[in-house]
Amino acid sequence: MNIGTTPRTPVTAAEPAPTPLDAAFAEPDTRAAVALLRAELSRSEQSDAMAELIIKAAVNQVRRDPRRAFAFARAAAAHGNATPQTVARALRVAGGALVSLGRPRLAVAHYDRALRLLDVTADAGDLAAVEVKRIHPLSLLGRHAEALAAASRALRIREQLADAIGIAEIEIALGDQRYRQDHYREALRHYTRARNCLAPDKYRRLRAIVDCNSANCLEALQRYGAASRLFERARAAFEKDGLRPTVAQVDHNRAYFAFVRGRYAEALTLYERAEAISTELGDERQLAQVALERAEVHLQMGMPRDARRQAEIAAERFGRVSMVKERAQSLVLQALATIVEGGTPDEVLDEARAVFTAEGSGVWVAECDLLAAAGAESRGELLTARVLATSAHDGFARAGRVARAVSADIVLARLDRAAGRPLDALARLDGATDRLGGLAGPWLEVEILRHRGLALLASGDTAGGAADLAHAMDALDRHRGSVPADDCMIAFLSSRSALFAETVDALLRAGRPAIAFEACERAKARALTDLLERRASSGQPAAALSVVRTRRLEDALHASYSRLRRHASGLDELTVERLATVRRETASLETELAEGRRRDAAAADESPDATASATVPLTLGRLQSRLDGDTTLIEFTELPDGLHAFVVSRTSFAHCRLGVDAPTIQSRAQRFRFHLAKFDVAAALASSELSLRATRSNLSELAAALLGPVRELITTRRLVVVPSPALNGVPFHAFPDGAGWLSETVDVAYAPSAAVYLHCAARDVSRRSVREGPTTVLAVPDDAAPLIEREAWVVANAHGPTAQVFVREQATIARFREAARTSRVLHIATHGMFRPDEPSLSCVNLADGWLDLHGVYETDVRAEIVVLSACESGVAGVAAAGDPLGLLRGFLVAGAPRVLASQWRVSDASAALFMETFHLQLAARVGAETALREARAEVRRRFPHPYHWAAFFLYGHPGGAAGTTRRAPCATLSTPATIAVPASSNARSLGRVSCVPTT
């Protein structure tokens, strides 16, 4: 956003003499100050002179505190004894303040009133001053003809007066106007003429304005070095004068400048600052502009939902301040976000295009064309897409927007390839690279390489295509260093997941499976690996991700969760209307909280470059050297021709195309979920032999598809499964295997990626985990899950006298934090929930609140094993790049080498039985895997359906986590087999019992 001209007061002016108004000027409260001014004006005999003094004070405030400036100027204008000339001057200053406050329409009204007064007095100098001031707000309102007419009138007068400084002001205003219409070179010419009018050693502020606004043009023309120098110079000048709001405006411009160079974290931090100052000043225009530009950043980072919300905020704010063009820009970004989200935008594009055409904004008309081209392409209307993309290309080229023109070239190259003309696509992309001449923005570099690779593949050059795609991945790795960690990184990498799949596919086609595996691994859960690397190098909890301004939202959300939990458990029934209201409020709070946290985390992540550069991609050789002889790792990936598996052991490596596609597997997984869901409502049917046969049949088909082709390669005792997104939550350990189940012969663990698995394994070796601490149990039972209490005591007793138990109100978040740091085994038994819309808010209930991902991030977990005995505690939203988002992620990042957590809603009875058996075994130092095997077998004996015995998955490094003392299970306790199975309250609705033991 360009900065408007300041009043023509040289900054070197002498200090004014003391006046009776000084007390008012010194009064910090604007309302009180204005009251003092009015009182002084009404007392004074020299009221016009006093009004002049007030106007001068207002002028000095315009850039520091425009609201105060406006109030002062209005006070002067309202004084009855002031001359028309003085009132006009006061109105002019008030107009300037209104422009700064983002109220261009009101500003124009003030200027028009001033002009009417000056028509009477016919003071040419004052007339010109007002006309100059009108140019900027008229441009903002899209009234360009009136703006140009005002400029002509002002220029005529000032040329007659030989007023060089005044002419400079007009040139600046004209430059701003041309900039708004995307005529950057013309704008630069006006700014240069303005600079030439200004003596080098005077008018620092005006020169700084020229610098800043020229830098915006240079940035648009991709002359980044020159733009950077001018931004720095302008900022230093404003800072020297203590003009905080103007410094904020420069920073705002620098934010966008950082964004276009791919420095997302820097951009977001600067936007955060700009927003804080604009909020403080009540600058609606600036706030709207921040929201608009943030929307663009979020889109580029692959976060369309956040982008759409920001664009909606921007459109609403711009609408309020009557900025038609900017509102239309916001609509375009909304439409783009909707398309990226997979939706169809409404007819906002036509409305926006009409506005841009009326404004004469060729660049934005071209943006509309490019967007429409993408829409036509997705509908298969390739000819229309080509016409639109060509039109967009020409529009960008005419305006000198080389990078945007190249974006259109990329769309055209894609269309060439789709039309079976890959060589044309290659020629177009090579031409585009030449035109960029080293000025490629980082994402353009990635996209050009990617589409070159695809064109080469289409032309039959498999090796060349694979090489270019691999280079695109390298470029992306360099580029992603500037993306804030975690949420932003997940979104960024997920939005580029097509490139990963294309690269792995091309490398496989080129006969390079080992390199393909490394590319696959590079794409998997990379944001999580970054966090683990950061954690490993700092040894500290992820403090950068802590929440700084979201406590109020958390409290409100947790209160909503508690209301919903009580309703869901049947403990406190809400009316249908009330339930709908609570759900709506919950959804809204979740969105607001998650978005706020993302922004906090992004703004706090000041040095993301170091993280990314520290993350060294895993090689096959390194993985094999770190796997023990008992372990086989199977990593799945989804490619255009279906699912593939890489099978890695210490001594072997194999690749297998499985011959099944992701949707087929997802459908089978959904069917399994249907079988599980029955336990909530139709327990007798769910527990029937029929249901078990149906589930086993379904799981057999999954096993045949996913493990059948590679089963003979799994000869080790342990299998580590690295799933692809479609396989998230698929229970490999519950796959039928011969007459039994896979988990009876193979210990199955899960990891989001091979790199994450190695991180977890390294924690055991590094002796970071607590080896001699107690077992700590935190338990929050209630009437809906009463066996939690019993489970807590059985688990604690199993681990001996040093075990600690905190039940109900004792099981606080503070206790959790302390126990996580000092305990060897941490067991949490409570209610849990997965939040599919905002997986990072998935949580478990503790006595004084809900513990979610961010709460766990802030914890130092040194326990050898964390057990989350709750519903859905291991469920994660898995992004396209394979990054899991949920509680499990939190525990892995916080330091846990292994986590036992559930993948679905568990029954109180079978969960208690499972956990008690597991810990009795664990305490006997048999290791986590054996304890798990025994627990599953014990539960299966009483509850044969996998719903009961397969709910808990072991994540991370499965070895280790043995008890500290080899001892028999405590003889004084009831053995798990004696646990009474309560009838479920489902009986109330269906006359059935939820858990029906078959033995």
């Binding site: 959804a587 249907f674 409502v681 007798a684 029929l690 599919p836 519903c871 109180d908 489902n986």
Partner: protein, 130 residues
């Protein structure tokens, strides 16, 4: 030809608490249970927030706990009673059926006649969460 009779809705988790004995804090995905004579139909409704193309109903039709109704025709009717998709149950009495309309029901075509299970509109917000 007479119109198919209407099955009795025994349970709609949208309108009832999920019940005790679970360690979950939230309601499960929407499920409905119908009864018609000896037949019981249990369905898992599509997520109200799911895209139209991804809206599927999973169901199981039985005539007793261990008596699946195999090879039985099942159709999804839109709000006006027009058939929008059809399938048959498998050996376990289970089926998966596209449910493209927001409102509608299932028509079950058994050997001894047809009946319809009308699915009341969801009371949930489009965000599926709770």
């Amino acid at each position: 030809m007479t119109a198919p009779s209407r099955a009795e809705l025994l349970l709609d988790t949208d309108r009832a608490a999920a019940g005790l004995g679970m360690r979950s804090a939230m309601l499960s995905p929407r499920q409905l249970v119908f009864r018609h004579g000896p037949h019981q139909l249990e369905i898992l409704a599509p997520d109200a927030g799911a895209e139209r193309a991804a809206r599927f109903v999973w169901g199981q039709l039985v005539a007793g706990v261990e008596a699946p109704c195999a090879d039985t025709g099942v159709a999804w009717l839109d709000g006006t009673g027009v058939v929008r998709s059809e399938t048959v149950t498998d050996e376990f009495g289970e089926f998966r059926l596209a449910a493209p309309a927001d409102e509608g029901g299932l028509r079950i075509d058994c050997a001894d006649g047809s009946f319809v299970c009308w699915v009341p509109p969801s009371r949930r917000e489009t965000r599926c969460a709770s």
